[in-house]
Point group: C2
Chain length 331, copies 2
């Protein structure tokens, strides 16, 4: 296990301290909890946004805490849902009279624990609601998930719902726009190598020298199939084909997000992006903006995902609104 770590049991603590040291103008850590919140939380006059999940997906989610995106991010153990009390603490720290929206990726443990936190917060008279992101078109039902998994598209929910919250909108309005993003965002990825949960110390699956797993989840959950390595263009053709088959993007404008899972170099992500743009041009789908980089990673896994978000005027305007977070500035 070649990792740059100290004690495998302390990686989340040390990660969060490293983030606070790096971004003291953006985030602070709640004492005694694995939670990062906006430095000036609670921010007056806005709905608070809280997300989170297992660690190992950095910069998700702590890297998206800041103006125009999240108010709080809860960091579970690696690939493990945060406990309800951690989520509850995050909610308490950031929520004012306008309430709080939880943005949850569709994993059974996350749903259960965020729902429980919601009940704990409501028992203290806080207004809380939640949305569930399920953008991964690869498979229905998977390890840890009933229905589709939530993957990189979640970052676009943070961006757009975060922008809506900054306008001073009410909780149902922020929730509605988050649901609109969820309805219009689709993703799919593939993996070229496994990853190693630090405390486990060995790869979570194996792949042959010339193999890739298509449709793999961000924790190494099985995808649709394994096959021999293909060219970048063939990989992209398959993933984008599955996405376009899922909802009708004809004549629409989209945000493209090419997300690296960790070990795939930026050079390769741009080669992927080239092909995505070519396919969309052929189909008459207009690209409004593109994001290429690491937004939702899987420890040291090699691979990538492609996300398409179908836009309308409201989503465009919110996508373009200012953001100032460690991992994402105004686009």
């Amino acid at each position: 296990m070649k990792k740059v770590i100290n004690n495998p049991n302390n990686v989340v603590d040390e990660l969060l301290m490293g983030m606070v040291y790096a971004h003291p103008d953006h985030v602070r850590k709640l004492d005694g909890f694995e939670v990062l919140v906006r430095k000036n939380s609670p921010v007056e006059g806005k709905v608070a946004l809280v997300s989170g999940g297992g660690s190992g997906h950095e910069p998700s989610h702590g890297g998206f805490v800041g103006k125009g995106m999240l108010d709080g991010a809860v960091a579970g153990a690696v690939f493990t849902s945060p406990t309800p009390d951690q989520v509850f603490e995050a909610v308490k720290a950031v929520t004012g009279p306008k309430g709080c929206l939880l943005i949850v990726k569709n994993y059974t443990g996350d749903i259960m624990n965020f729902e429980m936190a919601k009940e704990m917060a409501e028992a203290e008279d806080l207004k809380v609601d939640y949305v569930v992101v399920n953008d991964d078109v690869a498979v229905e039902d998977s390890t840890w998930t009933t229905g589709r998994r939530g993957i990189a598209g979640t970052v676009l929910v943070h961006k757009i719902a975060g922008a809506k919250a900054e306008t001073g909108a009410e909780l149902p309005e922020v929730k509605a726009v988050a649901e609109k993003v969820i309805k219009n965002v689709r993703s799919m990825g593939l993996a070229l190598s496994p990853c190693i949960v630090p405390a486990a110390g060995k790869p979570n699956f194996t792949l042959g020298e010339d193999e890739m797993e298509v449709g793999m989840g961000i924790h190494g959950e099985p995808g649709t199939h394994r096959e021999s390595l293909k060219s970048a263009d063939e990989m992209v053709d398959h993933l984008v084909g599955k996405i376009l088959a899922d909802i009708d993007y004809t004549g629409s404008e989209v945000v493209v997000l090419v997300n690296g899972l960790a070990s795939t170099p930026l050079m390769e992500l741009y080669i992927v992006n080239k092909r995505v743009h070519e396919i969309l041009a052929e189909k008459g789908i207009k690209v409004y903006k593109s994001m290429v980089g690491e937004y939702m990673t899987s420890l040291e896994m090699a691979g990538f995902s492609v996300t398409l978000l179908k836009l309308d005027d409201e989503l465009k305007e919110l996508f373009d609104a200012p953001a100032d977070t460690p991992a994402l500035k105004s686009l």
Copy 2:
């Protein structure tokens, strides 16, 4: 070779097209040349900045083309110096009456080719000067280099000299501030895994299961020694110790740059950053700002480097000046 590519001989072309598709508001490609320039080049009233080198270090250097940083970036073949005519084309495309500063990393091929381009541009009555970045304290003289190598500290030269150029300063002033950064910036890195030049198809060196190479360069050039894998803290203690032994940082304020070489996850880079901050606090060195991420990569190599830049008031102000490039926005 598990890469997300098409033809290994086309990776640079496809990379640049992918960048243009992703960042059409920032960059355009010069027809027939592996060169990205600012969309509105030449920008009136400013000294132009041109950098570049072999490809495989993305986001360096094309990702730093834009307001407040570079005017042009020349992309050689993977790990291969760009030819003089490519550099010359970049200079011609971006240079106005105030002239052009070339920012060159200290590799023999780069120095030779950028110098030759300078002469070609001067023959056409363009004002051109250059600086050489040599921030890597690991080794004197190495594969492809006489003297110290230029690595991630180069990005801070782009940032600060770029900010100076935006003020309308003259070429000698922009050069002087670039040299001030070079005088005050030091880096050192280590590698946990090799990388594969696409056209070669096999790793450029091998490392044992439990081995790391300390002081390795960004093309896999040998470092100071190999040893068994250590804890993150021990790795950082060694690298920062070497940097602090090189120039006197006592009582100063610094920018910290923790740079991932590619496959090392952001989680681990933040764990590194934590230790860097602890060491500096112990030594009474104040951290002004931190950057944690991938700025100067080495294809899919695992490992990281640490860079410290000693600041004065001028460097602080220029570091904080606005930037808007694909890979670096205002800090």
